[in-house]
Structure formats: C-alpha cells, structure tokens
C-alpha cells in the first residue's frame, strides 16, 4: 500500500511568485490498483509523482509504503521497488549502449554491479523472448544502439526495462505523450498487460482522457493541488471519456 500523508509543497517560497501547490494533500493507493491521474497544467500531477519517487522534496508530510515512511530514502534507494517511465523516451534507456547492454543493465537491478561479465550470453534467449512479446519486431535488434531506434521502440524497451526485475510500483509520467497516436495505442495496451500480468501497483499521469477512462481501475482528477474527482470500481467503469472532458473543462474554467 502506498500512502501520501498531509503533503505540503511550495514552489518559490517567500517570493512574489510563491506557489503553494499542495497543502495537507493525502492519497492512499491500494496494492494492485492502477490509478490514472488527470488534470491541467500546473495541477500537480508530475509534482505528485516526483514526491513519490523522491525526485523533489516536500516541505512537510510523509510518503509511506506498507505503513513505513520512505521520506528519508534517496531517489535511487526508492527505485529498488519502483519503476518509472518518462514522457521523454530518451530518459528510459542509454542511447549509446546497445539494446542488449541496456537490457543486461536492467536485468541486473537489485544485484551488485561488480567485475563479472556485463552482458551474459545465456540471457540472450530470454531477452529475445521478452522483446518478441512486445510485438514490435525488436527481437532481432539486440546489437543495435538504442539511440538509432524510434521513440516508440525506445519507449517500449524502456517500459520493458523498468519492469524486467521484480518491482511493486510502476510510475508512468505521461509516458505516451511524445508518441504518435498509433504507437501510443500500442504502448498503452502493453502497459496495461504488464501491470495486470505482474500485478503491479501503478500510478499513471496522462493527458489522454480516453486512456484514463479506458484503462486502470481508479481515476483521480487534480486541480491546483486538490483532488476534485476520485472514482474507483463500478463508478470508474461507468465513467466515460466525454464525462471526464466535461468535468475537466469545468475545472479548467474555474481556474480562470
């Protein structure tokens, strides 16, 4: 269970541009839940993810996993149980390493990076099998440098790498936003499959209201650091993209 308790986050504190984003913001995500987070620019979606991952500190409040505070853990320590896929496909892989080297790195997460062979020959078949499951024909490109692949291909590999080793939380930061509609569709379906198969707890920030309505089993709408909509279960399943759009427009109008 992932809990965010009474978080306060202030940007540019003490200046004329002071922006109090979160005050006493709380959220609980149950194990195995797939939460979609929508909201306009500046509503706090990405800040929320950054606070969960420890990328930025909160002024006060606590982040807990199974009741244990992780607020004192550094970002890389939290990554032990978390995977994150970014909007920018370049952030999930190393462009100058081959796909095989990238996957080997991801495969070794949680184990020491010592002086044994970096690329295991015996894992090739396993990687090929994993890549084949993506259905993008990447299984023959193990020795190709990551940087020469397209954004969609890179994002698919980034998603695979983030979930290659056992993990509990998958953090998706507008991970389809930089892709063309068709590729975005593929990556989204892939994400859903991986979350279900590995029974992950996922928090997905998205600007695509249709994805928010279609995928996941809980939906949150944020507006200026407050939760203005929180639906799960049957109520979530009954929520259409059109309804979300209307609610979204109203929130945006309130904002001025």
């Amino acid at each position: 269970m992932l809990e965010i308790q009474k978080i306060t986050k202030v940007y540019n504190a003490g200046t004329v541009t002071e922006n109090r984003l979160f005050s006493d913001f709380s959220l609980t995500v149950d194990d195995g839940q797939f939460v979609s987070v929508v909201g306009g620019n500046g509503s706090g979606k990405t800040s929320l993810l950054n606070i969960i991952c420890g990328t930025i500190p909160a002024e006060s409040g606590d982040v807990l996993v199974d009741g244990q505070s992780i607020s004192r853990q550094k970002d890389y320590q939290r990554c032990a149980s978390m995977g994150r896929v970014y909007q920018n496909p370049a952030l999930g892989t190393c462009p100058n390493l081959t796909m095989l080297e990238n996957l080997s790195l991801a495969d070794n997460k949680g184990r020491p990076f010592g002086l044994s062979r970096g690329v295991s020959k015996t894992r090739g078949a396993y990687f090929r099998e994993q890549l084949a499951a993506l259905g993008l024909g990447l299984e023959d490109k193990l020795n190709v440098k990551m940087g020469s692949l397209s954004g969609g291909q890179r994002q698919a590999v980034a998603l695979l790498m983030a979930t290659l080793t056992p993990l509990r939380f998958l953090i998706l930061d507008e991970h389809t936003a930089a892709l063309d509609p068709k590729t975005a569709e593929i990556i989204m379906a892939l994400t859903d499959r991986i979350v279900r198969e590995k029974r992950l707890t996922a928090v997905m920030v998205t600007h695509n209201l249709r994805y928010a309505a279609e995928y996941g089993d809980r939906i949150l709408m944020l507006d200026r650091g407050r939760i203005v909509l929180d639906r799960a279960g049957q109520e979530k399943r009954d929520t259409s993209a059109e309804e979300l759009f209307q609610l979204f427009s109203r929130a945006a109008l309130d904002c001025g």
């Binding site: 550094k74 970002d75 890389y76 320590q77 990554c79 032990a80 995977g83 994150r84 970014y86 370049a90 952030l91 999930g92 892989t93 190393c94 462009p95 100058n96 390493l97 080297e101 990238n102 080997s104 790195l105 991801a106 070794n108 997460k109 949680g110 020491p112 990076f113 010592g114 002086l115 044994s116 062979r117 970096g118 690329v119 983030a162």
Partner: protein, 294 residues
C-alpha cells in the same frame, strides 16, 4: 632519423595513458575534469621522490596509481558530496595539487643517471637486455600501454564498467537501477586520474625528472588525442575507443615532433599544442560540445 621515430612512437605510447584517463572522464563519463593537469605531475612527483630514495623502480607504478586515485577521489567527493560544479571541482583539485606536488618532491627533481628506472632495472634487462636503451623504452612502453588497454577494455565489459558507461550516457537510468550515480562518477574519476598519474610516473622514468609545471596542457593533449582517435575511426565500429586514442596520441606526438624538428622554439610548444587542439576541434566538426562515445 630512425631513433627519432622510435622515440616519438614511445612518447605517443606513454602519453596514451593520459588519453585513456581523459577518454574515461570526458568521453564515457561526460565530466570536464581539469584535475588531470595536477594528477599527471603528481604521479611524476611521487615517482621522482621514490626513485631518488632508492625504492625499487617497479614499486613506483602502484604508488603513482594510488596517488592519482586519491586525487580523482577528492575531485569526485568535492563534486558529489559538496555539490560543487564539475569544472570547479577539477580546478580546485588541480590548484591544490600544484602545491602538494611541490611539497612531495621538495622542488623540481632530477633522477641521477646511476639510478635504475623501469627501463634499466631487472627484469626488463633480462628480457630486453639485447636492445638499446631507446629500444627498451619502446618495448616497455608498448607492453605497459597494451596491458592497460586490454585491462581497460575488459573492465568496460564488466557490470561495473557497463554502469560507468551508463552514467555518462543517461544518469537517470542509473538512478532507476537503484544505484547512486554520484558513487559511479567518483569511481570513474578515481580510475581515470589513477591512469593519468601512471602516465606521469612512466614519463618521470623516461625523462628522469619531475617539474611542477609538467602538467600544464595535459588535459588539452588528452582531449585532442581522444578527438583525433574517435574521429579517425568513427566509421570503423570494430576499432575500440582505447585503440583509437593510442593512435591519436602517437599522431599527436608526431605532429609536435615535426614542429620541433622544423626548428620551433620550445617556448612556443604550448601555443602549438593549443593551436593544434583548435585545429583538431574544427576539422572534426565537434567543437568540443560533444566528444561522446567512440
């Protein structure tokens, strides 16, 4: 003439040890580290002092490596733990080392003719005794540089080496692998400055002297050789970066040697070094913005 060619190639091979260090920091780690200008004479200072005290010449190699590693470690700690910008962290270490080097050596030092170096002591004599001093220098420099090259190649293929390559390529990924990227950077800086100090050590054996200013321009030299090597072999994927920078180093030393042979005054040497570097930058089309990855 042959002697001149041999000594130039020897110089290129020895100084390639600097190129390895610079290759790791600039090309793999993407870290503009100026401490190289200090760790090179540091290796020479440690070596000169040990040689004049009668220590076994081969023991100066690990001693210089250890001293260089410490220098790299301090740059890394200043940058990562004290959050000082990379360029400034290197400048701080480089400046401090100038005094430290003089403190170690006392003053500029000359190693007497009678003192054995790695080129004149056993077991070098047992193996290459039949060669002239010039030939022995070439043979030892070749073997040493080859050994370091092979070791470095092997290291870069290990898990630790792969992580080092990843941190310069995309630090975010290293964090995602639940690793502290700061520690990986410190490791890289330690390793590369150890290699640079080793270069200083071998140069001290070769020219039998240490001078406080011998480090000036070594970063520029290293960068130039990396860019020459990487640019020359850009299209040849099977040539490793380490091989490329050895060729770069030999070519560079040849250019300098030609300039000297044409009657260039020694006072203008650094000017030529700088201009040659500028030329290499412009010709390779890289302008120093991206010297990344062979």
């Amino acid at each position: 003439m042959l002697d001149l060619v041999i000594s130039t190639v020897t110089q290129g091979l020895i100084y390639a040890l600097i190129s390895f260090g610079v290759y790791i920091i600039y090309s793999i780690l993407d870290f503009p580290d100026l401490s190289v200008d200090g760790s090179f004479p540091l290796g020479a200072a440690v070596t000169a002092v040990l040689l004049t005290r009668g220590v076994n010449p081969y023991l100066t190699l690990p001693a210089a490596i250890a001293a260089g590693a410490l220098a790299g470690l301090s740059t890394g700690l200043i940058h990562v733990k004290l959050h000082v910008r990379d360029l400034l962290a290197g400048i701080i270490t480089m400046t401090a080392l100038f005094s430290i080097n003089l403190q170690i050596a006392g003053s500029n030092l000359t190693v007497e003719r009678a003192t054995d170096t790695i080129f004149t002591a056993e077991p070098t004599m047992a193996v290459f005794g039949g060669l002239s001093l010039l030939g022995r220098k070439l043979a030892v420099a070749f073997l040493l540089t080859l050994a370091v090259k092979l070791g470095l190649d092997a290291y870069l293929r290990t898990k630790s080496g792969l992580l080092l390559r990843a941190v310069g390529d995309n630090g975010t990924l290293v964090t995602a692998l639940a690793r502290d990227r700061g520690s990986v950077k410190i490791l890289g800086l330690t390793l590369s400055n150890a290699l640079v100090a080793l270069a200083g050590c071998v140069v001290c054996h070769e020219q039998r002297s240490f001078s406080a200013t011998m480090g000036t321009g070594q970063v520029v030299f290293g960068l130039a050789t990396v860019i020459i090597g990487v640019t020359l072999f850009r299209r040849l994927r099977f040539v490793r970066g380490t091989t490329a920078v050895i060729v770069g180093s030999i070519l560079y030393k040849t250019c300098i040697q030609v300039a000297i042979s044409l009657g260039l005054p020694a006072n203008l040497l650094k000017l030529i070094t700088a201009l040659l570097f500028l030329l290499v930058l412009v010709l390779s089309g890289r302008k120093g913005e991206e010297i990344i990855h062979a």
